[in-house]
Symmetry: C2
Amino acid sequence: MADPVTKLIVGGVTSAQGFLAAGVHGGVKPQKKDIALVFSRVPAAAAGVFTTNKVKAAPVLVDMERIRSGRGQAVVLNAGNANACTGEQGLRDAREMALLAAQGLEISEELVYVCSTGVIGHPLPMDALRRGIPEAVKALGPDGAAAAEAIMTTDTVPKTAAVQIEVGGQVVTIGGMTKGAAMIHPQMATTLAVLTTDATVAAPVLQAALRRAADLSYHRITVDGDRSTNDTMLLFANGEAGAPEITGPGEALDAFQAGLTAVSVALAKMIVRDGEGATKLIEILVRGAQSDEDAARAAMAVAQSALVKTAIYGRSPNWGRILAAVGYSGAEMQPDRAMVRIGPVLVAERGGAVGDRSTLDEVVRYLARDDVQIVVDLGLGKGTATVWTCDLTENYVKENAGYIS
Amino acid sequence: MADPVTKLIVGGVTSAQGFLAAGVHGGVKPQKKDIALVFSRVPAAAAGVFTTNKVKAAPVLVDMERIRSGRGQAVVLNAGNANACTGEQGLRDAREMALLAAQGLEISEELVYVCSTGVIGHPLPMDALRRGIPEAVKALGPDGAAAAEAIMTTDTVPKTAAVQIEVGGQVVTIGGMTKGAAMIHPQMATTLAVLTTDATVAAPVLQAALRRAADLSYHRITVDGDRSTNDTMLLFANGEAGAPEITGPGEALDAFQAGLTAVSVALAKMIVRDGEGATKLIEILVRGAQSDEDAARAAMAVAQSALVKTAIYGRSPNWGRILAAVGYSGAEMQPDRAMVRIGPVLVAERGGAVGDRSTLDEVVRYLARDDVQIVVDLGLGKGTATVWTCDLTENYVKENAGYIS
């Protein structure tokens, strides 16, 4: 069987048919747009993946309850305040946000999801939301750009992506928007992602597909190892493309899964590229591991190593730090079988150095790029995994040292 | 029973009777002293704790073999080159280092241990060691200062500590030296520590005591989460104080354990305080956990959080980042029972904020200190743990971005 065809298009959360969005300034943050709304003209199948942090923000608790229905029609999001560690008041505020949207949209409150991102431990400024959410309803339109902008916090660019696939001869679109620049880590970390599709997908199939896509995208990126209280990935499938319903395994699901994973990976990589203070996107490919899980463990340890991340930033060909990170990752390894490549340059083989000073000079030249690849082959089996991270720079420290003070 | 009396004294690796040390410039590093030697006049009981990294440096492999005898008389150490990822040649070089020391000291090669620290993946410059080790033998004397200086890499200060205890009415001294400023992490991370005592302790008891001390000191500190290929903690007990032998549980072992743990904690805290780029020592005390293991897990997650570490650096009273770190630590927690105190200031209770703007102002004033304490009470049980870390600053990035290039 040929791989399903996935066509990347310019687009975002409103690329799929029947979705509208808006982004407005409500006053949670000074000046910047801070309230976003995404709306499907018809009720849709809904799926969600949420933070595994035991400290869950109020909107996450509300969404986790609602997603059990497998149905949804709108998401209201705010930046500037996470509504986390806010107790009972926080839950009331999250529900009121959904209610305000539902009233404006004239739909059932239960079909509205809520996402918040920003500072932890402060009550939501509900005045701003009571003013802003009705405005967002009025501003709904076919352009997703303002919504993508409204969910930005320390992000420097809005992040959207879309693909088209074919299901039963019918073109189906999957698009989305995301935000996040720190507290990024597997199992999610103030990452918000809203994905929309006009495919017709049964809710349990949709949930499984979203989890699979998350495992290969959002759960494979790390900026600083911190995991947030608010991470949420939502996917709505409203069936507006009129393609046959996807109800289980088969060619249609394969195509849908490939498209959904492609959008998710594209969005996740945008987050890493925009990591706080980052200057480089680093892809870490581990192969030859005893299992895919072991490969992911090893790749994640390299991606999280502050020493590796600072070395890449400084264009330092310090491959020993890469092997050391694999060594403490918990992945099965035999040092004398391990190979390390930085970009096109083989730097270590059988656990030891390869080449000479000119080899390292070649690495230094390669590390001038914005996109860097590290390949580790453990020489043990067939397990592979790819993880994305960014370099660690002085600006990460600067941005996080003065966040709320 | 009263707690054993442990008296901190000014001293180091030669404070215990019968130990000599030296530190010389051999030429592994330009200019700086780079070879250290510690020697007991008589063969001693020996214990060791080593890195858990699967990529183990050659000297670690050699020491792990030799420590099985439970005997030792000397340690030769070098800074500037880790002799890690150096294959068979590395093992030959590590053994030659020991042999050179043994020949100079006229003792059995099997009684000599080897430690290296520095860059990974480069062969040891054996000329420098062949020249320097005999010089170190000649330079042996009762002052431990030069040895402590010779093992420094990015350390900015030499690190030594000593205590005195009583065993059977006899004063016994335990002292030591250590190095380390990055790649510091539980399960050790380019940390070298050589501890000496004139107590008489059976080898298996000594090993258990060292492991216990390591668990409460070196395994409770973190600078950057990286774990090195070279970490080694060695302890020699030569019996020169003439105190009764400690062969098992009892008052004497309690006193010895308390003293050994106190020296180890003092040395470990010096490492964190000297963490690369650090401006503050941060103590994290978690209590009220379901178990001590859970408390350690929670405290370590807070200590490793880049967001917490940058916030403390920036004097930002961002307690939400502390609770979020506990939330993803894996420790059992119920957010609505958690309490957070920063120094003397209660900032969160039952998972939510306490006080007002003036409370946060008080935290900002407190964070001007060099020594900062964070207390988290999970309100679930009796588990407690203390972990030490340092803040994360622009200078950590600067130091690590250009280490070898």
